[in-house]
């Protein structure tokens, strides 16, 4: 046996054969991903067909699609999706506007740019817990700085989180503040990819700055903006920590996003299987969005390639 191995090079040589080099290099990544992500994903897919409860020791029974049926016919779930859509929509729009304006500002070279840029990038590095806790303090009617600053305009103490609209605004502002710098980075990369000679040509043609923007700058950042929208939509869709800390989904359930609802179903009501079913519906939506995202990435690659 050893003789044969030595002659043919053995298992080591078989493994290192150039034909298998690609597969070999990919293996560690795939193994880690399989154990830590894909396997749990399949497990929860399995759970979604049973009536498993993490809090009870009863042997779960097979329920087929009934969990999916229950989730999809639940009016509460649709309300949560609506809330999520409102928060995601307004937050992403706000991030785009702020991120875009910041990028325009930082597209120029100026003294101490590196340091000033750090001021804007810092919110991204804070933890959700700290942003949540301190924004909650800022919004606080008695001690908060927001109601203090607004006290010049309103007679009473301004209660930000008291009404559904205010609570949503409060969450959106905290989230947009944290992640606009990310959009800024993307747009900035787009702005600096515009070939300089195009601007020089526009200078000669005396094109107005608005026209210059629409005909030169915008085409170059168009698909990066799309990238930013999709990436931020996917990320904001998962928004959990900030909502949970600032409003806990209230007042009532007006700010309960789908992620918070999912957490409640799984860890407060221990409806493990039902939450798995809902999680899979969420995953499906995210996969669709990921496809759109890839489409945008490819288009961008074609444009600049």
């Amino acid at each position: 046996m050893a003789e044969i191995n030595r002659r043919t090079g053995g298992f080591g040589a078989w493994l290192l054969d150039p034909k298998r080099r690609g597969a070999l290099l990919v293996t560690p990544a795939i193994v880690i991903l399989f154990v830590m992500n894909i396997f749990p994903l399949l497990w929860s897919f399995g759970l979604s067909f049973f009536n498993y409860k993490a809090s009870s020791l009863k042997v779960p029974t097979f329920r087929g699609l009934s969990n999916y049926e229950r989730v999809l016919t639940d009016e509460k779930v649709w309300e949560r999706f609506q809330t999520t859509a409102i928060i995601v929509g307004s937050s992403v729009i706000l991030q785009l506007i702020i991120g875009f304006l910041l990028a325009l500002m930082f597209a120029k070279a100026f003294p101490m740019r590196r340091i000033v840029l750090m001021l804007v990038l810092t919110p991204m590095m804070l933890s959700f817990v700290s942003v949540g806790v301190f924004f909650k303090l800022f919004y606080e009617p008695t001690f908060g700085i927001v109601s203090y600053l607004l006290s010049a305009f309103t007679e009473d103490r301004f209660v930000v989180l008291g009404s559904p609209a205010g609570a949503i605004a409060g969450i959106v502002i905290a989230d947009a503040w944290m992640w606009s710098p990310f959009v800024m980075l993307l747009v900035l990369a787009g702005l600096v990819s515009v070939p300089k000679y195009l601007y020089e040509a526009a200078e000669i043609d005396r094109a107005s700055s608005l026209r210059r923007f629409w005909t030169i700058t915008f085409p170059y950042i168009k698909s990066l903006l799309l990238l930013a929208v999709l990436f931020r939509t996917i990320e904001t869709f998962k928004l959990f920590d900030i909502v949970y800390i600032i409003t806990e989904g209230g007042p009532g359930s007006s700010t309960e996003t789908i992620a918070v609802y999912l957490y409640r179903t799984a860890f407060q009501f221990f409806k493990t299987s039902q939450s798995s079913a809902l999680a899979y519906i969420v995953l499906f939506i995210v996969v669709v969005m990921t496809n759109l995202y890839l489409y945008a990435v490819n288009r961008r690659a074609e444009e600049v390639g």
Binding site: I38, L186, L224, V297
Partner: protein, 289 residues
């Protein structure tokens, strides 16, 4: 990758003044947190909020030492351990993901497998997936295998979170390299290992550091999995932060602000040092220069 990052036009100090002003307004919530870390408990919750006050370092002291009122002695808290844990866990897992991801990215770029794009798509989907989808199985899995509460468990999990991003980003850097140089090196008798380490890696070093810093920002503050899967010995700072919230006397904002400020420092300096790389890396390599 070799060309330097270029800006549109130049501006002088007056422009710096304007941008710093806007930057400071944007930074003001962070500034407020930093100020709060130097406030006493009464100053932190003063009505109206105080901008000027006598600073104290008590909060920073009580991050690491807790004085007991009953015995009058001070006792070390475990916060130093939590800071070590955060640095160790985030650093190791982002580094590990970068190594594993770079190998995979090289393969995806140079030796495409059958169904290459499908693999890449599945890898990306695992990054986009809401963490809550897998949290229950992972929790059960960690409890059954004894990984819960260990360094290896959380490090492997974070590595898995960072791999998709590393693969995609690093692949885009490899794609930008000119394979003819590699072929020329092979003609001259360079081994595959030499081609990889001597020709490919040095050219994408900037890209690799961008990947590292971006992964670090995303891992540094992870909370949900750290909360469920770390034990007393392996607890990270975000979890410790959240634990300071639940008190009978309400949130100790000064203490929390001190932890937040200290926890911001390492990531802030790493980002500052690698800022230029970050500016390039964030676009997933879709901007060709």
């Amino acid at each position: 990758m070799t060309k330097r990052y270029r800006e549109i036009g130049k501006a002088g100090w007056s422009y710096t003044l304007i941008t710093s002003l806007v930057g400071l307004i944007y930074f003001s919530p962070v500034l407020w947190i930093i100020l709060t870390s130097f406030k006493t408990r009464t100053d932190a919750l003063a009505v109206p909020p105080k901008l000027f006050f006598t600073p104290t370092l008590d909060n920073f002291a009580s991050v690491f030492y807790r004085s007991s009122i009953t015995t009058g002695t001070s006792q070390a808290t475990d916060m130093a351990l939590y800071f070590f844990n955060s640095i160790f866990i985030a650093g190791t897992s982002v580094g590990l993901a970068l190594i594993v991801g770079t190998l995979a990215a090289y393969a995806f770029s140079r030796y495409p497998l059958r169904g290459n794009d499908t693999y890449l798509f599945i890898i990306l989907t695992t990054r986009m997936m809401p963490p809550i989808v897998v949290i229950i199985p992972i929790f059960l899995m960690f409890r059954l295998s004894g990984l819960a509460g260990s360094y290896w468990g959380i490090i492997l999990l974070y590595t898995a979170f960072n791999i998709p991003f590393s693969v995609w980003l690093v692949k885009s850097f490899f794609d930008e390299l000119n394979p003819e140089i590699e072929d020329a090196a092979r003609m001259d008798g360079a081994s595959e290992g030499r081609v990889f380490f001597r020709f490919c890696i040095p050219q994408i070093l900037a890209g690799l550091s961008a990947t590292f810093v971006f992964g670090l920002i995303l891992t540094w503050n992870e909370f949900l999995f750290a909360l469920l899967l770390t034990g007393v010995e392996t607890r990270t700072v975000p979890v410790a932060m959240a634990r300071t919230l639940g008190g009978e006397v309400g949130v100790d904002y000064g203490l929390l602000a001190a932890i937040v400020t200290l926890f911001l420092l390492p990531i802030f300096f790493v980002t500052f040092l690698l800022q230029n790389q970050l500016l390039r890396g964030v676009t997933f390599g879709t901007v060709k220069k």
